[in-house]
């Protein structure tokens, strides 16, 4: 049983949790990727800087060495350098003062290169005699003492390649850590989530009012188990206290019934002694009516306890719901007519239901009795039974004042009566709906209270 929208739905709860875990994983993943990109950038930048320095110092060293040797040996040395450089990274050239080619594997001075003995980048590279053209190069040119110009250049490709290797290495590392990380995180988060959901399922009966249910405690004895154990201890205590309260109220009701019945008997005797026409008879009659009302109240109270305790299945059989609602309608139609209430019956052909026929009749009867009490004179009450999504739903609606949403849970408790409905003063013992709730619980039906637009209440038993 629940009171309609009052309690949060189970799947909404777990849905929210699931998405929060996912979000956490995504945020973590994005953070990790961003960090790795920064790392790659930093390493690449540092490496490039370092390699730049090396390339430039190699060029400078070579230049210093070549400029110090005898001018006559220079062309041979340049040729040897080219030959020794197996990877073809180096290039060199010797030009006379007018810039004409003398020796080396470069036949012209690249334009825009300052002849100052310093290393400069050459973004477009240099055309060699062999026709090969390297991409990016660093080059240095120096005017020798005899006015000729020596040019040394080194291919920069290597540095770019090293950067590419570093980048791809780090990208591999990133994907290799990110994939198992995210997967592992997802799997890890699923374990506790599954257990939370198990706890949620286990606590549903408690939310419906069955305090006998307990949360599952696993062998792991971890934080969740500690929490479950604490909640279980709390439930035990609540169950014990509620049991005591119920026991006390039941035994008061039980003990008071006998003397009350005797009191009623004595009143009845007095009435009989008085004979017809005795004016005191009316007074006695009123006393008897009061005593009967009290006895009714105690009877209903004990009946609810009885229904809560027995949880019996003995009276269960196959019940024709259509026939049951027709008979309820037949029983209460005259009562509605007395109040000028239009009492309609809407019953489709319904599948048979496994239920206790007597209790089902009593529950529907109570709902109708209640609706007739709260509908205004000249109002309308509808008793409707239909199949909805494979389940039989029995609805009783009226056009009375209605029950505010915040009171819907409370009216299912014993003796609660809506503060808003002044009309309820005359209306019975306030135990009708708790009785229906008890019968619904016994059958495992959902009992809910909702609005009946534009005004009034709609009570619903989902069988």
């Amino acid at each position: 049983m629940n009171a309609g929208a009052a309690s949060p739905r189970q799947d909404e709860l777990s849905g929210r949790w699931r998405s929060s875990t996912k979000r956490l994983l995504l945020v973590y993943g994005a953070f990790f990727v961003a960090w790795t990109v920064v790392l790659i950038g930093a390493i690449r930048w540092q490496t490039a800087n370092y390699l730049d320095g090396i390339v430039d110092s190699i060029l400078e060293q070579r230049l210093r060495y070549l400029s110090s040797v005898d001018r006559a040996h220079l062309p041979a040395l340049l040729a040897a350098t080219t030959q020794l450089d197996l990877r073809g990274l180096m290039a060199s050239g010797l030009f006379d003062a007018q810039g004409r080619y003398l020796a080396g594997d470069i036949d012209h001075l690249p334009s825009g290169l300052a002849i100052d003995g310093r290393v400069h980048p050459l973004p477009d590279g240099v055309q060699r005699i062999s026709g090969e053209r390297a991409g990016r190069m660093h080059a240095v040119a120096l005017r020798l003492e005899d006015g000729s110009v020596m040019l040394l250049a080194r291919d920069y490709r290597v540095v770019d390649q090293v950067g590419a290797i570093i980048r791809s290495g780090l990208l591999w590392a990133l994907s290799l850590t990110l994939v198992p990380g995210l997967l592992g995180g997802y799997l890890l988060s699923r374990g506790p989530l599954r257990r939370v959901r198990a706890i949620e399922t286990a606590i549903q009966p408690v939310m419906r009012g069955d305090l006998g249910a307990r949360l599952p405690v696993s062998e792991r004895r971890d934080e969740l188990d500690m929490l479950a154990a604490i909640v279980n201890r709390m439930l035990e205590q609540i169950e014990r206290l509620l049991g005591e309260v119920k026991g006390v109220s039941d035994s008061i009701a039980h003990d008071l019934r006998t003397p009350l019945t005797r009191l009623r008997t004595q009143l009845h005797r007095v009435q009989q002694l008085g004979g017809d026409g005795d004016p005191r008879n009316d007074l006695v009659e009123r006393c008897i009516v009061e005593a009967d009302a009290l006895l009714d109240r105690f009877r209903a109270l004990l009946r609810i306890s009885e229904l809560e305790d027995i949880g019996r299945r003995a009276g269960f059989g196959v019940v024709d719901v259509g026939e049951t609602v027709r008979r309820v309608h037949e029983l209460y139609a005259p009562l509605a007519e007395e109040k000028d209430i239009a009492f309609a019956l809407e019953a489709d052909s319904l599948p048979p239901l496994r239920a206790d026929g007597h209790l089902l009749f009593e529950a529907i009867g109570n709902l109708v009795d209640n609706a007739i009490k709260f509908a205004p004179r000249g109002g309308r009450v509808v008793l409707r039974a239909a199949t909805e999504g494979g389940r039989v739903a029995i609805e009783v609606s009226d056009d009375g004042l209605g029950i505010p949403p915040e009171e819907r849970e409370a009216v299912l408790r014993r003796f609660y009566r809506s503060a808003a409905s002044g009309a309820a003063e005359a209306a019975g013992h306030g135990l009708g709906l708790p009785l229906v709730a008890a019968i619904a619980r016994l059958h495992g039906y959902a009992f809910s209270i909702g609005d009946n637009p534009p005004r009034g209440t709609r009570m619903r038993l989902s069988c």
Binding site: T258, T261, E285, L302, R312, L331, P334, L359, G428
Partner: protein, 224 residues
């Protein structure tokens, strides 16, 4: 005058039962023990028995089923603190004829005993008559002083029950149990409203009233 055996171990309840039944003009014997009660009942000579379900010596259920096995068919009113429908079914299945839950109003108990005492008289009639009211059970028609009454099926059943027990006091609970077949408190004044409607049809049109209200108790159908 009828002879009634009350088997009840609670002295106060036994006194109450005896007083009420004696006031109705019956002779009452009280026994407080199951075994002794069984022997008295077996000896015979009683027109009805009130039987507490929980008894020392011999349990009420066992007692009544033993009685039936021995061929004694004296009507038995079972009285029990167990109000559960199951308990009622078990009590009736064991051989009880009616079932009353403690605590009870003595006049309710007396009314039920009265019904049990008159049981069997005129069961096979096809037409019931009370004064100038006539109920044809075969044709399912009702006539009052020659005029046909227009009754709904439920009203017919209610009238039949009242007429079958003409002259007897019938409580609201008894009427609800017999006509509707349910055992709970239907609440408010549902039965009164049904009787009221039936009364307008039967006793209206200037006829003398046949359906009487018994103060603080229920209804009775009596010829004027």
């Amino acid at each position: 005058m009828a002879r009634i055996l009350t088997i009840e171990d609670d002295a106060v309840t036994a006194r109450e039962i005896a007083a009420e039944l004696q006031a109705a003009g019956n002779e009452v014997d009280c026994v407080g023990d199951g075994r002794a009660g069984f022997e008295r009942a077996l000896a015979g000579g009683y027109d009805a028995i009130t039987l507490d379900r929980m008894l020392p010596g011999m349990d009420g259920l066992e007692l009544v089923s033993e009685l039936r096995r021995a061929g004694v068919d004296t009507p038995v009113l079972m009285i029990s603190a167990l109000s559960d429908v199951d308990a009622r079914v078990r009590g009736l299945r064991a051989g009880g004829d009616d079932y009353l839950t403690k605590p009870f109003a003595p006049e309710e108990m007396a009314a039920r005993i009265e019904v049990l005492l008159r049981r069997g008289a005129g069961v096979r009639e096809t037409t019931l008559r009370v004064g100038d009211l006539e109920l044809d059970l075969i044709a399912r028609t009702a006539r009052r002083g020659g005029t046909a009454l227009d009754l709904l099926p439920l009203e017919f059943r209610l009238l039949e029950y009242l007429m079958r027990h003409a002259g007897q006091v019938l409580t609201r609970t008894m009427i609800f149990e017999a006509v509707w077949g349910y055992h709970f408190d239907p609440g408010t004044n549902v039965i009164d409203v049904h009787i009221g409607r039936l009364r307008r049809k039967v006793d209206g049109n200037g006829f003398a009233s046949l359906i009487h209200t018994v103060r603080g108790c229920g209804y009775a159908m009596r010829a004027p």
